[in-house]
């Protein structure tokens, strides 16, 4: 592993990075084989946060599983909600209302902004630029305030439901979104000025953790990290779900596939998300935000209090849930971290027979080994941060 043969190789040592290391984004445990200060082999050891989410789903009614999806990628819970409810809806074969589609797009893009802000902030903190974390969390707070107004929670949102959304998108939320769209561009250019002006930060990212497009595809990399390698693959564009095909936005693509490109892609994606939100807010139609199917969405509360038929529907929905036709389905969305897929096997009852989650953090993490080979120990921190794994999701 020496650059020069005339230097005598030192004895290799193995060190454990994590699970309590402050810059491993939670509970990542890396076993690093070192030769001097260079990485010979980096092996992620995961599972410290395993909670058996997939098994839990088999014992819950379809609508009861939504709060558990919040706990997967807790930095952007809305995307997880979306992936799950979309899979169930695909299995049911229903079409949601136009207003619900717009609300879902806005919610998903807001959570993408929140997720990317946290990713950039934590990344800069890991590499020693602490002020960015404080600024990014301040802007994230604006997004979380919108979530709080919208659904009453800041992180564990449980906002989407099979057949629509749980609460209406009020005018207050619309105003708050517009305010955010006003504030955010200026703040993001501030981050760029601080980070691109920081020689240390740029040098620790440029040329570090390079992965070629071919290798990235072979390893199942997805999301911003894949696009940084030059592969133009965004599920929102290539396999449009909801109404993404109606909006005008660009998919940023990198060239070098290093950590710096991944940073540039994330910043650019925040800007594109703002563009999508602006268009979705403009087009937001009036109308119902839930499908008109009493077995999937119980009637609104005032009707339940006064009407016997509605009360019966309500009791039936709460105590028995709804039956889903026999079959299996795979549905995926472009979550902030990559392709988030949900695979459901249904046996025709009210509970899934089997639920499998294709989580981006898990698949992205296996590239750490390839990216960090031959790099210095300090580069591993940058590589992990640039992949932005979240362990609620990775360990499920």
């Amino acid at each position: 592993m020496n650059e020069r043969d005339d230097i005598i190789a030192t004895q290799g040592i193995t060190i454990h990075m994590g699970p309590q290391h402050p810059s491993t984004h939670g509970v990542l445990h890396l076993v690093l084989d070192l030769q001097g200060e260079k990485i010979v082999r980096a092996e992620p050891d995961i599972g410290y946060l395993h909670r058996g989410t997939e098994k839990i789903a088999e014992n819950l009614l379809y609508h009861q599983f939504v709060p558990y999806t919040d706990r997967l990628d807790y930095m952007c819970a809305m995307s997880n909600n979306l992936a799950y409810v979309q899979a169930v809806e695909k299995l049911l074969g229903i079409e949601i209302t136009e207003r619900a589609k717009h609300i879902r797009v806005i919610a998903a893009e807001l959570s993408r902004i929140a997720g990317h802000l946290m990713a950039i902030g934590a990344w800069a903190l890991d590499l020693g630029a602490m002020s960015i974390l404080l600024y990014a969390v301040r802007e994230r707070e604006i997004v979380l305030d919108i979530f709080e107004m919208l659904c009453g929670a800041r992180m564990t949102l449980s906002y989407l439901r099979v057949g629509g959304v749980r609460y209406d998108f009020t005018d207050g939320c619309k105003e708050a979104c517009e305010k955010m769209l006003e504030i955010l561009p200026g703040r993001i250019s501030e981050y760029e000025r601080i980070l691109l002006g920081n020689r240390v930060w740029v040098d620790r990212n440029r040329g570090v953790g390079v992965i070629s497009a071919e290798e990235a595809i072979n390893l199942g990399l997805s999301g911003p990290a894949l696009r940084a390698s030059g592969v133009k693959w965004d599920i929102r564009k290539d396999e449009p779900y909801l109404i993404y095909d109606r909006f005008d936005f660009d998919v940023p693509v990198g060239t070098n596939g290093d950590c710096f490109d991944r940073y540039v892609i994330r910043i650019e994606e925040i800007k594109q998300s703002m563009r999508i939100i602006r268009q979705a807010l403009r087009d937001l139609p009036e109308g119902p935000f839930n499908v008109d199917m009493p077995e999937l969405v119980p009637p609104p509360k005032p009707d339940v209090y006064n009407n016997m038929e509605n009360l019966i529907h309500h009791f039936k929905y709460v105590s028995h849930g709804f039956k889903v036709p026999k079959g299996e389905v795979y549905s995926s969305i472009e979550a902030p971290k990559g392709e988030l897929g949900v695979y459901i096997v249904s046996d025709g009852s009210e509970k899934p027979y089997r639920l499998k989650l294709r989580v981006p953090s898990f698949h992205n993490l296996q590239t750490v080994r390839h990216m960090s080979k031959g790099m210095y120990l300090a580069d591993v921190v940058a590589i992990i941060s640039s992949l932005d794994p979240v362990f609620g999701e990775c360990d499920k």
Partner: protein, 192 residues
């Protein structure tokens, strides 16, 4: 050609030595140093009043005549994804509840609760609600189980108070420990 390259390098070197790149970034940081602080001085000076949809600590409602709205139908415990709500019904025609069926036991285990609000959605009589109380930290497991008697006490924030604001607050010493007492008379928006 050679001289030009050399001069260019010298300029770069001077730039590096006097840290022009850092100065750009530092100007922003220093600018924030003198601007107004956005820090919330919680809990001793300010407190955040959540929006009205906030899903916090549960409470049980009464109707205008003071009768309990809960009819112990057990839908909330059925809807709960974590089975954290226990309801034991009993018969009582003394007018305690709006029906003859009332809850003998209604308790919620707050450490199991996901605060998803499904119990609130499931309730056919609007008896159980998730309120805007969020200071639920405690040091013993026994006080994480809230019973009917405690939950029937109205919460400090009534449902009709508009949220999403900061109010003045102070710390007060009570027999149960130190509490944050908000002053709802004057409020302001959070500065972004």
């Amino acid at each position: 050609m050679n001289g030009r390259t050399k001069g260019f390098n010298l300029l770069e070197l001077i730039k590096k030595v006097v840290f022009t790149d850092f100065v750009k970034g530092l100007s922003i940081t220093l600018g924030y140093n003198v601007s107004r602080s956005i820090t919330q001085r919680y809990p001793d000076e300010e407190k955040w009043i959540p929006y009205r949809r906030w899903r916090g600590l549960h409470y049980l409602n009464r109707d205008a005549e003071g009768r309990e709205l809960c009819v112990a139908c057990e839908l909330c415990s059925k809807a709960c994804p974590t089975q954290c709500i226990t309801v034991v019904p009993m018969e009582d025609d003394s007018g305690r509840g709006i029906a003859d069926r009332v809850a003998k036991v209604w308790k919620v285990d707050l450490v199991r609760c996901l605060y998803c609000g499904y119990c609130e959605d499931a309730c056919p009589t609007r008896a159980v609600r998730l309120g805007r109380e969020y200071e639920t930290a405690c040091t013993d497991l026994a006080s994480t189980v809230r019973r009917r008697e405690e939950l029937l006490v109205p919460q400090a924030l009534a449902e009709n108070i508009e949220g999403g604001v900061l109010v003045k607050s102070r710390l007060v010493r009570t027999p149960e420990g130190i509490k944050v007492e908000p002053d709802l008379r004057r409020h302001k928006k959070r500065s972004l």
